[in-house]
Symmetry: C2
Subunit: 369 residues, 2 copies
């Protein structure tokens, strides 16, 4: 088996899990920093380890366009290429084809799109998405899905769900790599019946893990919070559950409460580059003049490299002076914040006090995050 997953403890619907991969064991609930182009922007693998990251996500769409999966395979595979020896999950490329490509047309056969880099017309089929990810050599690969935009018609949502199921079957049929697990993605938008039938159909195909797609694509927090508890129930209890592209700390806590296990999001690094820091008491904008003379770290109880060595005043200076070290140090803190949050989440589940932990955390963030 390419992965082994076991639920070690539950607390309500929240689960503490253990995920064994070809590149090591990680605990869930788990947050994966995003390394779009085979690098988490601005951070070295050493810095990611020190921040507590255990598993990364990389984007198939970007890597197949540049530098290409054959090149990465030739240079020893994605792990060796980017110098990361822990597990890596790659997405299928579908979401980026729909959101980043210059144009995109979807047929039952494949998605035909234009590269956002040079306009080349390309095709991404379920088989191609599997083949690219097999070349990359990630520990977990994702089936190509169709993610209809939030607000699409019922007919379009049904089409997307049907195609997603059919593409999952085709992906499974062509997937060969034994040291890589292939996860399926449940679509269906905000329609509970559609989600349920999509989840049932995919569960019958017996994938080693399942993801929820179509969240964090324009729906409101209320929409997500409303249907997530029900949708999570549709997923097999003995398989890891991955909520793609989510999200803010409060969204992750809400999803953990529903039994979700894995998360990824660009927020820690994107906000870090934009001088915004996550803290247990809400976010801090380091460009604000109020930080100019502040000798305290971002968070006094944070053990990250940034908080152990630098003041808010210094970080403020770095951003005003347009120095690269500002984005670097803040990305590092934000990744450490997310990883520490997940460590606290796991500890709370272990001690069966997750609901209380989540409620206290949310109250501290509510007004400022």
């Amino acid at each position: 088996m390419s992965i082994n997953f076991s639920v070690e403890q539950t607390d309500g619907s929240a689960r503490l899990g253990r995920l064994e991969t070809t590149h090591g064991v990680v605990e869930t609930p788990l947050f994966m920093p995003v390394g779009t182009q085979a690098t988490v922007k601005g951070l070295t693998p050493d810095q990611l380890h020190s921040a507590g990251a255990t598993m990364l996500l990389a984007n198939t769409y970007h890597l197949t366009l540049r530098p290409g999966e054959e090149l990465i395979a030739e240079l020893g595979g994605l792990h060796r290429f980017m110098g990361w020896d822990g597990p890596i999950l790659t997405d299928s490329g579908g979401y980026q084809v729909y959101s980043l490509a210059l144009s995109c047309r979807i047929t039952d056969q494949a998605a035909i799109f234009q590269s956002h880099i040079d306009g080349t017309l390309l095709e991404l089929s379920p088989e191609k998405a599997v083949s690219i990810q097999e070349s990359l050599g990630s520990d977990i690969a994702m089936c190509l899905d169709e993610c209809a935009p939030f607000g699409s018609s019922a007919g379009k949502m049904q089409d997307a769900a049907r195609r997603t199921i059919s593409w999952a079957e085709r992906s499974r049929a062509c997937h060969r790599r034994k040291d890589q697990a292939l996860f399926a993605i449940v679509q269906g938008g905000m329609d509970l019946d559609l989600r349920a039938s999509c989840a049932r159909a995919l569960a019958a195909l017996d994938f080693p893990g399942y993801a929820l797609g179509g969240f964090s694509v324009g729906e409101t927090t209320e929409h997500m919070r409303t249907i997530l508890p029900a949708v999570a129930e549709f997923l097999p209890a003995d398989r890891p559950r991955y909520l793609m592209g989510v999200g803010r700390p409060q969204d992750i806590l809400a999803a953990v409460a529903c039994g979700l296990d894995m998360f990824d999001c660009v927020l820690p690094t994107r906000n870090g580059r934009n001088a915004s820091a996550f803290t247990a008491n809400g976010s801090l904008r380091l460009r604000n003049a109020c930080h100019k003379r502040d000798s305290t770290p971002i968070e006094s109880d944070c053990q990250c490299y940034t908080c152990r060595h630098f003041s808010r005043g210094y970080l403020h200076h770095l951003f005003l002076a347009n120095e690269m070290l500002g984005p670097i140090l803040l990305s590092l803190h934000n990744v450490a914040f997310y990883c520490r949050l997940m460590e606290k989440v796991r500890q709370a589940i272990r001690e069966r006090r997750f609901a209380e932990f989540a409620s206290v955390s949310l109250a501290r963030w509510e007004t400022r995050l």
Copy 2:
């Protein structure tokens, strides 16, 4: 005494030295990476330590404009502000006033200039330069000098040398900080007699260290190489000798051969940001397509983080994808290259084979650096 300097060994005119400062002991000949705005661009202090850096340079001009020396003093001084616990040298700000300011007028009293950030009219006197550096709290401060451009008339060169001596006297008279050493700067352009008289006048004032200014400002390599041996002789033998703003590896070797001890230059980080790597066999342009499929590191015998973990192919990808990690990893390698070069220089002097070492190194670089 704010510093202690001893020459441990000589090999021809080359010297192996030991420099004790308030923030630790460093060996010379020594290269100082440049942390213009209280950060060596793109690198954390941890990364600098790991690359072998022992002492940094920071720019008084930039720091007095932003964030201001009072703020840095309030936040605990420059070392604490930038998280660097080793020794720091600050320049006087003069060179930047002459080269970066929007306008500049020099009188015997002071340099009056316009900030390149917002056009504000400001004054930098010898007393002000000392006062700023005392607030910053560097281990070594520099006297304000006048650096006439290469090619200035003899009269202008004489004026600059005269003013530099007078300003050194005034700097010395107002310098109070006991944990900081104040170095004087010898000017005089390419005129050996003027250099000699400037050096004699400054030596009579008994500074703990001496710098050579006015190199690396437009003169040719031949100009520098021609007069450096003679000029170095004018400097007191028992004091550290610092060649400001120099330079390329071959220039540093030539200067060490003349008895110079300290160097600084932005080349390792600037070239690193521009995808150019220093190696023992010349420079490598990592954007070049020839590196695309190259699985070897920049230098196979380099122990820096970059060379231990990443291929030229990966670095090529990072630069083509405009990823921050490219400049970071290449700056790190280049700083490590310079620090390792200086370690080899010291070892060669220790074993009295510096001339041979320099000659072999230069032959390997000659065609490609």
